[in-house]
Amino acid sequence: MIAYVLRRCLGMIPTLLVISFLIFLIIELPPGDYLSNQMEQLRAQGETASIAKLEFMRREFALDRPLLERYAVWLGAMPGPQGFSGLLQGNWGWSFEFQKPVDQVVSGTLLLTVILNFTTILFVYIVSFPIGIYSATRQYSWGDYGFTLLGYFGLAVPNFLLGLILLYLMNEYFGVSIGGLMAPQFIDAPMSWDKFMSILSHLVVPTVVIGTAGTASMIRRLRANLLDELHRQYVTTARAKGLRERNVVLKYPLRMALNPFIADIGNLIPSLVSGSVIVSVVLNLPTVGPILLSALQSQDQYLAGFILLFVAVLTLFGMLISDLLLAVLDPRIRLGKEAAS
């Protein structure tokens, strides 16, 4: 098992390299960079005095080098003006817009981003699991139709609009303050039970909004898988032997249907992370989403690049966890040496 975990982790390294290069290409796509754009602006205004300083800064950040070298410097695989100082060395870059290192800009938001995505995954599984079983075992009942319809709507309504609507309703009927992560009075307060509850109640809307589409597709998947299994002969045999209906379903077919359900995390996580970015913008949540948007708009390339890399790594780790979970749950997945033979 340990060998499998190690191999799986090592396999992520080339993937991460490819992803980091793709992301670097994307953030380099706009013509020029933050500093050269600023220089042009200054030149247009006739202020030549501060241009020299910006020139110096461009050299400092290795922005005057060719593309591949810039990438290597950003990654930390090549000495920049300050020696080896890139992602590999734990230097996440400099945010030109905030005039601060990137880690100071994003530090408060990273944990919340992880928490938000994690609770959403939990929500998706907790909600879709019983509903999926119900829909499969009571196929074509009113409940089944109802959930199917609800699921279709979950897929069709853009989640940022669902966010706006729910936010309005929450404020109207439950008095939860609008936007943000906690009620305004707790922002600087030390951690307390009330603050914790306030955060929790503010997490409800985003979790539901981000999770709806995922929940809908998960219900459909589990329902289809379970229905396939329920028509197998071993189920009939189990019934014929007089097993109670509950045991018939829970003991065997459910186990079989569960694997694709867990393996599906791979499809689920990218869409959840996507959703969390835009929903955070709409609901004004302090995650990386709003920072990414403003960084992209002002071409603050290293900040945007780091956030893109962060969300990509987040999904990769989610998939790693799902793979490991699957290996634990399904004895048929062969590990290490057995797989080779």
Partner: protein, 402 residues
């Protein structure tokens, strides 16, 4: 029976006995192998129908998918005829009607039938909140005109015209879904917005199909190291969250571009991240079809690879490609909406449903002027219809599977 070869003494006698009357009964009527199961004309037609006809027959049974297709066709009528359907120019500002609420269509006034009409509105300034309040004027019955001459427009930017499907009464107004902060008609915006919102998915999907067929095709056909490299790339691309990348790519589009170029830029961006799924489907289908008997027969008869792919393999999975492409249209429509909503996509004067929703970005708007959220309705309908249509197509795509 022993082997009888020419020259054997027994050969002649055997020949002779065959020419004699046989000692068993033979029916005079010709044997018809299909006699046992005679087909009804209906079955006959079904078995002789082409693949596409069978797909259509199966698809027709799927009522929900069929009606979704009809609804989509109706929506798509807005694309060529937006100027005629919309009563106003969507960028026309009416400073007398800022944030005017929707005017409902009525049929009866005071119990008297007048035909479709709207009540006029009177604007009053609320001195407490300093807001314009629009009061319904029950006396001003403004009958709608149909097939009429109204505001002039340039049809497709080419031909001048004034013909509209429906116009407000002379001197009256008809804001079916209200107006926005500059007095622009929301309903006309929706009609014009359909032009971009509905085509963005189709163009994006075509790009994604091209890329998917190309990469899936060479991966499935060449195999080996090319195959494994492409599959690895597909895996990586699929593991990336789409929206942040879409945002980054569309933020990279130069601001100096004209709306038309931005539009193409956005569709390319949407298609660029969508092909991996299709490529994977193409590859697996290609690999399985390659092993079919008819494909092998074509190889043995000496058909060149190009012909085998075009004539024998492509028809086998084109229906699948169409079905899965239909299912990926909604995510593209939603993607464009999200980008325009975030101000990263199209901007006025170009109009899409996402651009219209841009007005509904904050909570005050949602509470005070809820009609600005109207674009949500067509988005939901279109996305749902595409989902149902895609499901129906997918079920019908493989007509020989039972």
């Amino acid at each position: 029976m022993s082997n009888i070869t020419p020259g054997d003494p027994g050969f002649d006698t055997g020949e002779k006995s065959a020419l004699d009357l046989p000692d068993h009964y033979v029916d005079e009527v010709r044997f018809d192998p299909g006699e046992a199961e005679r087909l009804t004309p209906e079955q006959e037609r079904y078995f002789q129908a082409s693949q596409w006809r069978i797909i259509w027959l199966r698809f027709k049974r799927h009522k929900l998918a069929l009606w979704s297709g009809v609804i989509l066709i109706l929506f798509y009528l807005c694309v060529p005829f937006a100027e005629v359907i919309a009563p106003y120019d969507p960028n026309m500002r009416d400073s007398d009607n800022i944030h005017a609420p929707p005017q409902g269509i009525h049929l009866f006034d005071d119990g008297r039938f007048v035909g479709p009409f709207v009540y006029g509105t009177r604007a009053e300034l609320d001195l407490d909140t300093l807001q314009w309040v629009y009061v319904r004027d029950e006396d001003a019955v403004q009958r709608l005109r149909f097939f009429c001459l109204g505001d002039s427009y340039e049809f497709w930017g080419l031909v001048e015209g004034r013909f509209h499907l429906v116009c407000p009464a002379e001197g009256g107004s008809m804001f079916l879904l209200g107006t926005d902060r500059l007095g622009r008609d929301v309903f006309s915006g929706l009609v014009y917005g359909a032009r971009i919102s509905l085509t963005v998915g189709l163009v994006g999907v075509s790009i994604s199909i091209l890329l998917g067929m190309f990469f899936g095709g060479i991966a499935g056909y060449l195999g080996g190291i090319v195959d494994s490299m492409i599959m690895r790339l597909i895996e990586i691309l699929r593991s990336l969250p789409e929206l942040p990348l879409w945002m980054a790519l569309s933020a990279a589009l130069p601001v100096t571009w004209s709306p038309l170029w931005i539009y193409f830029g956005i569709t390319i961006i949407l298609g660029l991240l969508d092909w991996p799924g299709l490529a994977r489907a193409v590859r697996s289908k290609l690999l399985s079809l390659r092993e079919e008997d008819y494909a092998r027969a074509a190889v043995l008869m000496g058909a060149p690879p190009g012909r085998i792919i075009r004539r024998h393999l492509l028809p086998g999975f084109s229906s699948h490609i169409i079905a899965s492409a239909t299912l990926s249209v909604p995510s593209m429509i939603l993607g464009e909406t999200a980008l325009s909503f975030l101000n990263l996509g199209l901007q006025r004067p170009a109009i899409s449903w996402g651009v219209l929703l841009n007005e509904a970005q904050n909570i005050t708007v949602v509470t005070i002027y809820p009609w600005l959220m109207a674009p949500v309705i067509p988005i939901i309908i279109v996305v749902l219809a595409f989902n149902f249509l895609g499901d129906g197509l997918r079920d019908a795509a493989d007509p020989y599977k039972h």
